[in-house]
């Protein structure tokens, strides 16, 4: 694998963006500055960024409730994302989506989904457009181990397989669906389910290593772009924080040793050591990068705080392209 230095650094930058953004969200939601709830990707940055950096800027992506990492990883501006979490007029969705329903079409993010598993058919449809129109674009669906037990995934895998659609199904196996350990509700290995649909299924055992994720996703994307159809990738990872923050679902269902073990496998630390060890960047340069990212996140928070609330009338906008009734 020969990855350009710039790309390697961009991987670390985007992982840091997710980390610092979500750390900030975690606090902001607890103090009520962000209404509702947020699901952070802290601990899963390698799994997210390995995939989003392997995608091209024109490629499509859908996600789920663990929703900030995906658009950040795909290159969204942090200001409008943060403003969306605040419910502000300048939010990427004008304050009508919020954390669970971020979408940034400018970077190919076709939407996160509050309904577990529900965006997988949407990604499949985006791949259908690519196929019918011959655009060469690829589509990627992020979903959790919990979502891997939704029927829509298998309808999607089957359809994508028989139609040869350029889509990558990416299971973020953080080993829990809320409180439920994956092994107690999931028969067999998710990646192996691909065989039943005649498509490649790969499991990345070390999803804390961004390069391993990147390589697996890159291969799947090449395959899709070459017209060879879909793939399923299961990435083993772990979320460091609670399932969701802000709702105070403070039940301890995960074993502390297990949590400590995974926390010691921090994807950002692992890659930092790799970058330094391979002479790609110095510790000083990486510290400076972190500072830059922190400043970026700070600027995003300021932008969100200073932005106006949406005008009340916008509750009636954006339902139809040709409005009528209360939406007119």
């Amino acid at each position: 694998m020969n990855i350009e230095r710039e790309t390697l650094l961009e991987m670390q930058r985007r992982m840091l963006r997710i980390r610092r953004f979500d750390e900030r969200c975690s606090k902001l939601v607890k103090f009520g500055h962000i209404p509702g709830t947020v699901h952070t990707s802290i601990g899963q940055e390698a799994q997210v960024v390995g995939a989003t950096v392997a995608l091209g800027p024109e490629d499509y992506m859908t996600g789920n409730h663990r929703s900030h990492g995906h658009p950040i990883g795909k290159g969204s501006n942090l200001g409008p994302l943060m403003a969306e979490l605040f419910g502000k007029a300048t939010g990427v969705c004008g304050g009508k989506g919020g954390s669970l329903h971020l979408a940034d079409f400018s970077v190919g993010s076709l939407g996160e989904s509050g309904i577990v598993g529900s965006s997988i058919p949407i990604a499949t449809g985006a791949a259908l457009t690519a196929k019918v129109k011959g655009t060469g674009r690829v589509s990627l669906a992020f979903f959790g181990d919990g979502a891997s037990n939704q029927g829509g995934l298998y309808e999607s895998m089957n359809l994508a397989s028989v139609w040869g659609l350029p889509v990558v199904f990416l299971c973020e196996n953080n080993q829990y669906a809320l409180s439920t350990p994956a092994h107690t509700v999931t028969a067999g290995v998710v990646a192996e389910r691909a065989a039943g649909f005649d498509l490649p299924g790969v499991r990345v055992d070390d999803g804390q290593d961004v390069l391993k994720v990147y390589e697996a996703v890159r291969i799947a994307i090449c395959r899709a772009r070459a017209g060879e159809g879909p793939s399923l990738i299961e990435v083993m990872t772990y979320r460091f924080n609670e399932h969701s923050e802000g709702l105070r679902l403070g039940v301890d269902y995960r074993n502390a040793d297990e949590r400590d073990l995974w926390r010691s496998r921090d994807p950002i630390e692992i890659f930092r050591a790799w970058l330094i060890g391979n002479g790609v960047a110095s510790a000083t340069a990486l510290d400076a990068m972190d500072e830059e990212v922190l400043a970026e996140v700070e600027a995003a928070v300021e932008f969100a705080e200073e932005s106006p609330d949406p005008d009340a009338a916008t509750a009636f906008r954006d339902l139809y392209t040709e409005p009528f009734g209360v939406t007119a």
């Binding site: 079409f105 076709l110 058919p121």
Partner: protein, 339 residues
């Protein structure tokens, strides 16, 4: 003009739209072989078999997977195609409800207008054919309760062609409910392309004593009832809303303002049906013009049985509509239409 059946008119609208715009594609079960009669078919190749005309890239024969059929059509619509989904029997639509309600109806809104979803879902209401409870649904009222969708219920070949064409042109998701009692209906349909705007009711004929609003498959029954009433000296005005969302309030209100009496015929179940919504609007907005209580003629709140004698009595028919009209005129049987 050519004489076309209802299904023939749907086929014509689809063919014209596909010829006009290569982003229009058809997705559905058994569309390749034209099992449901709107995509040509090899046996009718002289009239234009869709697979031959447009190829398998645009005529997408699917597995039996309603969730991904509808979801993938939505994803395709969000990224530049204009899919027409043939979802066949309306009862199958429930398998795709998550995609319909959580994605299709909400995405443009939730994403602050970033998405547009130019998608048509065609849903056939096969009631009255002894297909039993799993194949006889008329579920449009459930979807009228979901902001973000548009709903059309064409009740004649000419309307079917013009409304479906507008639906395909629309950048919003439109669900087209096609009632099977209408399929065999034939009439002169213009050969050229034309569109009937969504949200415009049709006054099928004018009258001054009572307004009958009839929806979808009840339009021909209401026609019969109104003709019979006319012979008895009662002038009934028959209105077909044609589009349920957006609903043409004005046309209904103007008519009720003149007649002062309203009967609504609706093949859906009575509770929270389209007739219930229209009744509520008229009661709220035109109460002062009413000379008698509104009467709904709908399908009673029971499931659809198999035996023809059991099923046949349930749907609104000419007799029930006529009785209802007589009742609002103070002439009819005193027995209330409550079911």
């Amino acid at each position: 003009m050519s004489i076309l059946s209802y299904l023939g008119a749907i086929g014509a609208a689809q063919r014209e739209a596909m010829q006009a715009d290569e982003d229009v594609i058809i997705i559905g079960e058994d569309v390749e072989a034209n099992v449901y009669g709107t995509t040509g078919g090899k046996s009718r190749a002289d009239k234009g078999d869709f697979l031959t005309l447009f190829g398998p890239n645009r005529i997408r024969n699917t597995p039996i997977s309603e969730e991904v059929i509808v979801g993938a059509a939505a994803g395709a619509a969000m990224t530049g195609l204009r899919p027409i989904v043939d979802l066949s029997y309306s009862s199958f639509m429930y398998l795709a409800f998550d995609q319909l309600v959580n994605q299709i109806a909400k995405n443009r809104y939730m994403f602050g207008g970033q998405a547009s979803i130019p998608l048509v879902i065609r849903s056939a209401m096969f009631y009255g054919l002894s297909t039993g409870a799993h194949h006889s649904d008329r579920p449009y009222p459930m979807l009228m309760n979901v902001p973000g969708l548009k709903i059309i219920t064409p009740a004649s070949p000419r309307d079917a062609k013009g409304l479906l064409r507008s639906a395909i042109d629309s950048n919003d998701p439109v669900i087209c409910f096609e009632a099977c009692p209408l399929w065999g209906m034939k009439e002169d349909v213009p050969d050229e392309e034309y569109r009937i705007p969504l949200g415009q009711a049709k006054t099928v004929f004018e009258g001054s004593d009572v307004t009958i609003v009839a929806i979808s498959g009840t339009v021909p029954e209401a026609w019969k009832a109104a003709t019979k009433l006319r012979k008895e000296g009662i002038s009934a005005e028959l209105i077909d809303p044609r589009t349920l969302v957006p609903l043409d309030h004005r046309a209904i209100m103007d008519s009720v303002a003149r007649t002062g009496r309203l009967v609504i015929a609706d093949p859906a179940h009575r509770t929270c049906g389209a007739a219930a919504e229209i009744s509520a609007i008229v009661a709220e907005e035109a109460f002062d013009s009413l000379k008698a209580p509104i009467v709904r003629v709908a399908t009673p709140d029971t499931q659809i049985p198999f035996a023809p004698v059991l099923e046949g009595q349930l749907y609104p028919n000419a007799k029930r509509i006529e009785d209802a009209a007589n009742r609002v005129l103070g002439l009819g049987p005193k027995e209330r239409e409550t079911q």
